[in-house]
């Protein structure tokens, strides 16, 4: 039963394999090796290659590259912001979403443009195809099918901090090693992963795929001495569409006019009228009964590993909030798929009970299951052991991204993947690492939260995590990130850069045109009456309809962003003062208490900002530390990627 293959893997990708396995495979030396072909791995590989690094992507199965392992959707509130930012830095997932989307909607439309959540239901097949063909056409990128057995490490470069240096990998088949300057690990749930269904447990990271990474786990834990934790997640059963009585569910229509994720796209591949609906239904008391009756048959929920509070299984939902109706979304899996994805019904009970549970829901009373739901438990590396460039502090050239860092979600993985790929590429090309500020992007918030605070449960992005939410909007991600992404980071192509610059200049011009007209409010009222901005006769303003829209948003938020600018500046200045990771805090010749020394020695904060947030640090300790760093010039002035 556990060996059941996911239906989405059956497509033919042989051509893809062969086209990449020609001369390249004789090569045994790369700038960057990316391990894993999920959302983090594909973004990492593409970003490193865009930067100019010779890149090798190693994945267990080439045909699962770009597979959506869980829900067939992208974006949402907070997550949509991440997609827009990944796109602004020329990542893949935004354009892939535009190509694969079959149901687009902007969530939170009534709540202000800063918290709008662009979201789409996806066609799994189209998404996979897009990602694969995109990687295929990326220069300097080679894809190899294989399982990594071992991470090769050697003595560190003495001029840089760290105890080890990564030198490449060795594959399971025992062939000779493949060498590289940096390695990005994006192993998702495969690090010591176990699958759970009912009382059955088997090793693996995704149903239908080989288990893996035993050797990798060993290297990370034993050789590099990294602290790991354990988390869990799960996925719902897939339901045969025909067996569902959709007349008993509530139809949820998409937006009439789809909004693309990507700043490059003006429309989506799916035409407005071709979009598919979703359906909403609810759990019943019968569902709760089945859950209660099956608890003793359910290993997964009896385990200690931490699951997400916000994406819990139906079991933990009804156990934590009994006596309530819970929402269940029935989502299309694609244009040609005969399956529905029941969002909200992730479960790990035995398959026969899964079926009983489903059938307690009126619309699903005759439902048939194609593949049952299951749970996964996996190791993650405590992300406080990483620098803001996502490199493992102790190991030069080793980068981690995605679920291995304790996050959940495609978008969170893609965001980290992109940034890890950027820094892996920069390291290989002997460029200094870069950090993204939390004042400038959700990606910065994500990484800062991870490396600064660590995780206790799978980390998901929410808009409430971003203190400068009114500035970090989905509408201005291109202006925030694209120009510098080209000018300083090097991960943005010229085409996108030119587009962003022309938008920026155009908006600037339009704003100046608006500002040049100054009238008293009474006069404005006289003149305008009820005429809205879009009907303004200004040629600049009318040049592009979407610009008026962007200008409107900009002007609404500008006063608030200005008010926050001081706070932003303060955070940025704290972030930009990095503390050398090899500082010997225990014998630093400054007046620090033993307690403070021990805290600093244990945590080794990346920046002064992180040090101030440590519990137990004293204000005087910070001042002394700062004074020492300034006086001795020991601060590595991080090449912070910041826009101001």
């Amino acid at each position: 039963m556990l060996a059941q293959k996911l239906h989405l893997l059956r497509h033919n990708v042989l051509s893809f394999v062969s086209s990449r396995t020609g001369s390249d495979l004789t090569r045994r030396q790369y700038d960057v090796i990316v391990v894993g072909g999920g959302h983090a791995g594909t973004e990492a590989a593409a970003a490193a290659a865009r930067l100019g690094a010779e890149t090798l992507l190693i994945t267990q199965k080439i045909m699962t590259i770009g597979a959506l392992s869980c829900n067939p959707s992208l974006g949402g509130v907070g997550k949509g912001q991440l997609v827009r930012e990944v796109d602004a830095l020329d990542g893949l997932c935004g354009r892939a979403g535009d190509s694969a989307g079959v149901h687009f909607s902007i969530l939170n439309r009534s709540k202000g443009p800063a918290v709008w959540g662009p979201r789409a239901q996806l066609d799994r097949e189209r998404y996979r195809q897009f990602i694969q063909s995109e990687l295929l056409s990326t220069p300097r990128l080679t894809v190899l099918e294989g399982s990594v057995d071992e991470l090769l490490v050697s003595q560190p470069n003495p001029e840089e901090p760290g105890h080890h240096r990564v030198t490449g990998i060795r594959l399971v088949d025992g062939s000779h090693p493949i060498l590289s300057s940096s390695v990005v690990l994006t192993t998702g749930t495969f690090l010591s992963g176990s699958l759970f269904m009912g009382q059955t447990t088997s090793p693996g990271g995704r149903m239908g795929d080989a288990q893996s990474c035993a050797g990798l786990s060993y290297t990370l834990k034993e050789t590099l001495g990294l602290r790991v934790g354990r988390l869990r997640t799960g996925t719902p059963p897939r339901i045969v569409k025909e067996s569902v009585d959709l007349s008993l569910a509530q139809l949820q229509a998409p937006d009439k006019q789809p909004t693309p994720f990507s700043f490059l796209n003006t429309h989506t591949r799916c035409k407005p009228e071709e979009q598919l609906p979703c359906y909403l239904t609810h759990t019943t008391p019968g569902v709760e009964r089945v859950v209660r009756e099956s608890v003793h048959l359910n290993c997964h929920i009896q385990q200690d590993a931490k699951g997400p509070r916000y994406c819990p299984s139906i079991e933990s939902r009804v156990l934590r909030f009994p006596g309530r109706r819970h929402q269940v979304w029935l989502e299309p899996e694609g244009l040609t798929s005969d399956l529905l994805y029941p969002q909200g019904l992730s479960m790990t009970m035995p398959p026969e009970l899964q079926l009983r549970l489903l059938r307690e829901i009126p619309a699903l009373h005759r439902a048939e299951i194609r593949t049952p739901g299951y749970g996964v438990q996996y190791d993650f590396v405590c992300p406080t052991q990483l620098t803001p460039s996502l490199q493992v502090k102790s190991t030069q050239g080793l980068f981690l991204a995605g679920q291995i860092n304790g996050t959940t979600g495609y978008e969170e993985a893609a965001a980290q993947g992109l940034w890890a790929g950027v820094n892996a590429g920069r390291t290989a090309l002997s460029l200094p690492p870069m950090a993204l500020s939390r004042t400038q992007s959700y990606i910065g918030v994500l990484i800062d939260d991870l490396v600064g605070r660590g995780v206790t449960e799978p980390y998901r992005m929410f808009t409430s995590r971003a203190e400068f939410r009114t500035y970090l909007r989905p509408d201005n991600a291109d202006l925030r990130l694209t120009p510098r992404g080209f000018e300083e980071v090097g991960c943005v192509t010229l085409r996108r850069y030119k587009k962003a610059v022309s938008v920026r200049d155009g908006l600037q011009e339009a704003l100046m045109a608006l500002q040049s007209v100054a009238l008293s409010s009474t006069r404005w009222r006289e003149k305008l009456g009820n005429i809205s901005l879009s009907e303004n006769k200004s040629t600049t303003l009318n040049r592009k309809q979407c610009w008026t829209f962007r200008i409107e948003i900009y002007t609404v938020y500008r006063p608030h962003c200005e008010k926050q600018s001081r706070e932003m500046e303060r955070i940025r200045s704290e972030e930009s003062l990095s503390l050398p990771s090899d500082m010997d805090y225990l014998s630093l010749p400054v007046s620090l208490s033993q307690e403070v020394r021990e805290i600093l020695d244990r945590v080794r904060p990346n920046t002064l900002g992180a040090a101030t947030r440590l519990p137990g640090m004293t204000p005087a300790g910070i001042i002394h530390l700062l004074n020492y760093v300034l006086r001795t010039g020991r601060s590595e002035d991080t090449h912070e990627f910041k826009l101001n």
Partner: protein, 513 residues
């Protein structure tokens, strides 16, 4: 870590950091271009507390000239820099006369902080000082200074060398400690509970708005949640506004150094209180455990205001009332600026060589643990060896000799409350201690604290207005208002982080997408 110290610490870093590198210039669209480098204008009472003829209030920052114009009625030109000018000082809103005093104008960079600065030399009474501080706080863009902020700005402007930073670190340490005591004091009282309650309710409001923003599209979070928030916010606004008005009318300054008398039962603590205030404020009896609650009295010691408290004798008791008294006594000791530990000298070991160890041991039972920031050697403790008339003269002298300049032990004074022997000497020691404490501008600065509270509460109310203003147009901006209000309140009660808000969301709602 204590709430107040966070802001302090952060701004210190900011200052030091910006010292090391120039502020980056603004560029790009949608990026705030102004205000990045604009420091806020701050004010503080720069002279010490206690009774004094003249108090100096200092103002620093870009709005200093505006402050001077508004408060000193200077409609035309500013006075020549660094020249004293006698002016009527008025409330900028009500135009009410607050005082007549000297004003000085310092044009940056020729000032202590390097910024535009102004000084008000006013009369030293608490009422005048409070009125002037409150008037300053009511001006837009002007706020009470964080502890040590003037020094930090001076550092920022390059007026202090890097070598002086060590001193700055120590200063901040001392200030944090003073703030810790002050915050404990405030948070203990009714006011503290009130602020905590507001903070809690505001946190819930924010959590519910955030839940609505982040989850309402997919979860069962009904619009009703927002309606509840509407009424909670309105209720909070009303309460805070009422509080602000009340405070202005009926406020009584509880100024002064907090001196607490503590010790074992029947050591003569109440007798000491009565001796010091020269009237029977506390009931004195030979029965151990007579004093059960705190007895407070205001005193003037050497011209400095002192709030003297007598506490219940510390012992394990089966009487629940007495146990409560002991609990309060311990709490009061923790909040004290100065603790007088009273010991019955007839209980001292007859061998003078053993006395030091005995007292050391005794202190550890009376004083809170060292983690609380107080050690026996601290200059915030005095030992009073009472009932000296009952100890043989010769033993007393030898003991005194033994205890003199004993490291690790606070100064000890023999005293007899019944015969007043040794009172003069004790008063001299006490007075010098109080004087030292008053020289520390933070040890008892309730008017400054109140001005700070008022400023934060006012800003909190303003921010809540933003919630209503944007509630129906833009929920992100409305939430920003609640968040801002909570930040201001958090400056009084402690910082609230994003995780805390998420905890409330996940407790109150079933988020299950």
């Amino acid at each position: 870590m204590l709430p107040c110290s966070w802001g302090l610490w952060r701004s210190a870093i900011h200052t030091l950091k910006t010292f090391s590198r120039a502020s980056p210039s603004a560029r790009g669209l949608c990026i705030p271009t102004r205000a990045v480098c604009d420091a806020e204008t701050i004010f503080a009472l720069s002279s010490g507390h206690g009774r004094c003829g003249v108090a100096v209030v200092r103002v620093s920052g870009p709005a200093s000239s505006m402050v001077l114009r508004n408060m000193a009625g200077l409609t035309q030109a500013l006075p020549p820099p660094r020249t004293a000018l006698l002016r009527r000082i008025t409330d900028p809103q009500s135009k009410e006369l607050l005082d007549r005093g000297l004003v000085l104008w310092f044009k940056g960079p020729h000032s202590f902080t390097g910024e535009d600065s102004a000084e008000f030399h006013i009369h030293g009474g608490p009422a005048v000082i409070t009125a002037v501080l409150q008037a300053l706080g009511s001006l837009e863009g002007v706020r009470p200074a964080e502890a040590g902020e003037f020094t930090r700005r001076a550092f920022h402007a390059g007026k202090l060398g890097l070598t002086e930073v060590e001193g700055l670190g120590d200063l901040i340490h001392a200030e944090t400690e003073a703030q810790r005591r002050q915050a404990l004091r405030q948070m203990d009282g009714e006011l503290g509970r009130l602020y905590q309650d507001w903070s809690y309710r505001l946190k819930r409001c924010l959590a519910h708005v955030e839940a609505f923003i982040d989850f309402s599209e997919d979860e069962l979070i009904e619009d009703g949640v927002l309606n509840q928030v509407d009424s909670s916010v309105r209720q909070l606004e009303t309460e805070i506004e009422r509080h602000l008005k009340d405070e202005r009318r009926g406020e009584r300054l509880r100024t002064g150094v907090q001196v607490v008398i503590a010790g074992a039962t029947n050591a003569g603590k109440s007798s000491l209180l009565n001796t010091l205030c020269q009237r029977p404020a506390a009931i004195v009896s030979p029965i151990a455990g007579t004093t059960r609650d705190i007895v407070e009295t205001s005193l003037d010691i050497g011209g400095f205001p002192v709030l003297l408290s007598d506490t219940a004798g510390l012992r394990d008791s089966s009487d629940s009332v007495e146990r409560e008294g002991v609990r309060r006594a311990r709490q009061r000791v923790e909040q004290a600026d100065l603790t007088l530990v009273v010991v019955d000298s007839t209980q001292l070991p007859p061998d003078p060589q053993l006395v030091a160890a005995f007292l050391q041991e005794h202190l550890s039972t009376v004083l809170p643990s060292p983690e609380a920031g107080m050690t026996a050697a601290s200059d915030r403790v005095l030992l009073v060896l009472n009932k000296s008339d009952l100890v043989p003269e010769e033993q007393r002298e030898r003991t005194e000799g033994e205890l003199r300049e004993r490291p690790g032990l606070p100064p000890a004074c023999f005293l007899s409350c019944s015969t007043s022997t040794g009172l003069e000497d004790f008063l001299t020691v006490l007075q010098s201690r109080v004087k030292t404490l008053c020289g520390d501008p933070l040890s008892g600065a309730p008017s400054l604290t109140q001005a700070r509270h008022r400023a934060h509460l006012q800003q909190s109310v303003q921010a809540l207005n933003q919630y209503h203003q944007y509630r129906d147009q833009d929920l992100a901006l409305a939430a920003e208002g609640v968040r801002l209000a909570l930040t201001h309140l958090g400056r009084i009660t402690g910082r609230v982080g994003a995780e805390e808000i998420l905890d409330i969301i996940f407790r109150d709602f079933c988020i299950g997408k």
